[in-house]
Amino acid sequence: MSSMFDLPTGMDRRHFMSHLAGAAAMAAPAAAFTNTLLANATDLKKRHKAAILLWMGGGPSTMDIWDLKPGAPTGGQFKQISTSADGVAICEHMPMMAKQMHHMSVVRSMSTREADHMRGRYYMHTGYVPNPNVEHPGYGSVVAHELAEQVAGLEIPPFVSVGSGSVGPGFLGMTWAPFVVDSNGNVRNLDMGIDPTRLSQRLEMLATIENKFIGEKRGGSAEDHKKVIDKTVKLMTSKQMEAFKVMKEPKEVLEKYGTTGFGRGCLLARRLVEAGVPFVEVDLGGWDMHADIFPTLADRKLPELDKAMSALVSDLADRGLLDDTAIIWMGEFSRTPNINGGGGRDHWARSWSVVVGGAGFKRGVVVGETSSDGKEVVSEPYSSQDVMASVLKSLGISLETTFTAKNGRPMKIANSGKVIKDLFT
């Protein structure tokens, strides 16, 4: 993949930017982005908060991973093993994560109501149930919106989704939409292949047309279009796009994360966080195991998860990034304690687990408890809102933050969820 800086041949970044600067003198619309470019030549080494959401699309069976019930009729086929965290046991097919559990905490008392994929996906991402009248922003848009300011000169999008695209920005608007890339970090169509003077002439002409249309008051999407164009231009000319080039990592690092899509995605997430991106979502789908769940988990899914997730946690810790980076592992719901006739488990939202760690979270603890068959939460139950409130707190984002939806209605951040106290010291 070539970037803007490979072209035209022989032109280095400094030279390129001077072209842009020259062009910008004629082109007011282009000036805005050129100025940020020039202002941000300094590196972004400053410490900043970030979050990585490991999204398990399809609904993983958490009682086969984080909250085992060996011996119960519902318990399934797996044994549990002890971990680096005192008194925390997890599935035998997660041996590498078992060595990292002192960095993470398990919430075993999730209890939600949405057991349909799309509804659950929306609810767990936003803290709200779907509502035909309002589109709520998801985690990535909320965190990016709150933390974008902390990294002056971030030129790449503050919310990157690796894989399946997450949930949209809702009423926060398209500028906070997830930037979707594949797990190899490929960004398509970055290269225009023309010189900067011409680019800036094109942008000036484009701005003339865009502004005319916006001025005719036809609706918000006309303006959104222009905002996204401004962001795209910034990104096309940014050196920070290097962060996406995950394949430039040393071979041993690539191997540590695993040669799977999810492994690459987790490594990409670390690179992006290092570059200043405040929110990255990495997706691992395929948990919708209505049949043959145990061989599928043991042979395929858990090894892939174990390798990549443990590599990410230990790598962030080794680089001193974990104290500023929250990790959230969850899906839209979990799976029935009862095992069905096909050896699978169906959709279940009443009693399940999520895993968090890093940033301001207390590490190495288990919060909450389910009954011996896994069918009930027997301690205080927690919701999507509560997890979201806790993640925001771990990042130092004020829970007093209130958004204004497009219709003027005030919306409390995280839907007024309450912080899960036992996740904090």
Partner: protein
């Protein structure tokens, strides 16, 4: 345009509806003098079509109730661009636009609608609605061993080419049997089989959910596992609906090497989970673990025979059995939900918002913005033999469809993106679909490519695949990044398709414009007409002229830059 159609709308303006049907056939146009009266019909705003009159009245009532004043009408150019995009999935060519704009007939709008729905555009029409329905029926990203995208498309293309009645269309899809892929080894190819062939796992749970959602506007997927928390949906309703799909099997047909070659949909006896085929029941589990029994019962409570046998005649001549899917199709045809669901879908397609959001949830918990209009249009659609082209005609000739997208002080609060119910007092913006963009670029650049047929469709698929994101669920949920976000803008800036569209190579669109002997102003105007269906403003002319001056000696390069900017504009990509 068929002469019959043309005559009909001219006639409608003159007589009460009942009289038309009894007399028009006998006396034809002899009893009227067309010219002035047709103009009168246009003036009335409904072109003599009673269904259009009904829409206009109902929508106007809504404006009065909400104290809204509608925007002015859209210009001819805007309306023309809109209707090409919405009916045939592409913008008009310069010639098509000019011939409409320069026509001074008061009835040119219904005439253009007739033409777009008529024989001249039948391939374009079928291509567009095939694209739309392929996504509805099997999603954006489905081509696997259970589903043949090209088989699905072959069925849809044929159906829309002959303007299949909608009730027949639904029946074809619900009851399809035969081979899903068109292979020479396979007998009984039936592309309609692809709607259900990939949805039969776990006893057809997906078939149940999608059939109810698409054809009845009912969201039953949650009630698979429990009573719906927010509406009247009950768990038994899901499984009683599911019982209609228990005879159908999706059988894998192999070649020698054990690769699946195609899927054959067949109806077989359903012995029932209790083993009595005369009373073939199924069991489902309540949240508390109890098992309950279900037989085929339609959503309105109508029960059918509980027999699991497919129809046959016994030796003694006694006929037994029932085809459950056929029964379901019959019940759906008679249900008032079926026409409501399609009217709402079509309204949403043309007006940007349906009467409900989402358009496929008509449950009682989700009241429509215009209940009388929805019900009334659904009834009229049934009376009109479920003719989709008639429904389209009514909607696109209505007043709300003709309004400008420019809002005014008197209606700017009518904005469904703020969560309000739509009142349709101005035209709502929406972005082209990726398919519209692709076809529109071919049109705008006069790319000489054949656009019908499976080859063209596969090429387009390849291009579309860059935008698809799958959610990793069994239901095959997906979305598109062609949604106004950065990847879309990058594609519009730099993608191969745009590089082709803005190419300066000999014989291409830009080289024709540059070399056509036109003045600069005419060249710029050509680019604007081709993409935006309007002339440039004075400010835009001077910006473009400035580029031509700066790029002296490279006129085609400057035109290329202007063309790139026009194609990248909000005004181009947004249907307005």
């Amino acid at each position: 345009m068929s002469p019959r159609k043309q005559r009909r709308w001219r006639l409608f303006g003159l007589l009460p509806q009942a009289v038309i049907w009894s007399t028009a056939v006998l006396w034809g146009a002899a009893i009227v003098s067309p010219g002035a009266r047709a103009a009168q019909a246009a003036e009335d705003g409904h072109f003599g079509i009673p269904q259009v009159k009904f829409i206009n009245e109902q929508i106007t009532l809504g404006w009065k109730d909400s104290d809204l004043k509608p925007s002015d009408d859209a210009s001819d150019g805007e309306w023309c661009r809109r209707i090409y995009l919405d009916i045939i999935g592409r913008i008009p060519s310069i010639e098509e636009l000019q011939s409409f704009v320069s026509d001074s007939s008061p009835t040119k709008r219904p005439e253009l609608v007739d033409r777009l729905l008529g024989d001249d555009f039948v391939d374009d029409y079928a291509r567009n609605w095939t694209d739309i329905w392929t996504t509805v029926l099997i999603g954006r990203d489905v081509e696997n061993e259970m589903v043949s995208r090209s088989g699905m498309r072959q069925y849809l293309r044929r159906s829309f080419s002959k303007n299949i009645q909608y009730d027949q269309f639904m029946e074809d899809l619900i009851t399809a049997s035969g081979a899903n892929a068109n292979r020479k080894e396979a007998e009984k190819f039936n592309g309609a089989a692809n709607f259900l062939s990939g949805k039969m796992e776990e006893n057809g749970v997906q078939a149940t959910a999608k059939a109810a959602q698409i054809f009845l506007g009912m969201q039953v997927q949650c009630t698979q596992c429990h009573n719906h928390p927010f509406n009247k949906g009950k768990q038994n309703q899901f499984w009683e609906m599911n019982a209609f799909f228990r005879q159908v099997r999706a059988l894998r047909r192999f070649n020698g090497a054990r690769d699946i070659q195609w899927i054959e949909m067949v109806d077989e006896d359903f012995p029932g989970e209790g083993g009595n085929a005369e009373e073939a029941e199924l069991f489902y589990e309540l949240r508390n673990g109890l098992m309950k029994v279900a037989y085929p019962v339609f959503v309105d409570g109508t029960e059918i025979s509980r027999s699991g046998y497919v129809p046959r005649t016994l030796e003694g001549g006694e006929k037994i059995g029932v085809n459950r899917r056929q029964e379901l199709a019959n019940l759906m045809k008679a249900s008032p939900l079926m026409p409501k669901a399609i009217v709402n879908r079509m309204w949403g397609h043309f007006l940007g918002y349906g009467f409900t959001k989402p358009i496929d949830d008509l449950g009682e918990h989700n009241p429509p913005s215009h209940p009388e209009l929805l019900d009334g249009l659904a009834e009229r659609f049934r009376e009109q033999s479920f003719d989709l082209k008639e429904l389209i005609r009514w909607i696109v000739l209505s007043r709300p469809y003709a309004l400008s997208s420019k809002s005014t002080k008197a209606n700017q609060r009518d904005d469904p993106s703020l969560g309000e119910k739509p009142k349709f007092s101005h035209f709502y913006l929406r972005q082209m679909r990726a398919e519209d963009l692709y076809e529109s670029l071919l049109t705008a650049t006069k790319a000489a490519q054949s656009r019908g047929g499976e080859e063209a469709a596969k090429k387009k698929d390849e291009w579309l695949s860059q935008f698809i994101i799958a959610f990793g669920t069994d239901e095959g949920d997906d979305a598109t990044t062609f949604n106004g976000s950065i990847p879309q803008v990058l594609m519009m800036f730099n993608g191969d398709l745009i590089k082709q569209a803005t190419s300066t190579k000999e014989g291409g669109f830009l080289s024709q414009v540059a070399g056509g002997g036109m003045k600069n102003s005419a060249k710029i105007n050509t680019l604007y007409q081709a993409a935006l269906a309007r002339s440039p403003s004075p400010k835009e002319v001077s910006a473009a002229n400035k580029m031509l001056v700066e790029r002296k000696g490279d006129a085609i390069g400057a035109l290329q830059d202007i063309w790139w900017a026009v194609l990248n504009s909000n005004e181009f990509i947004i249907n307005h």
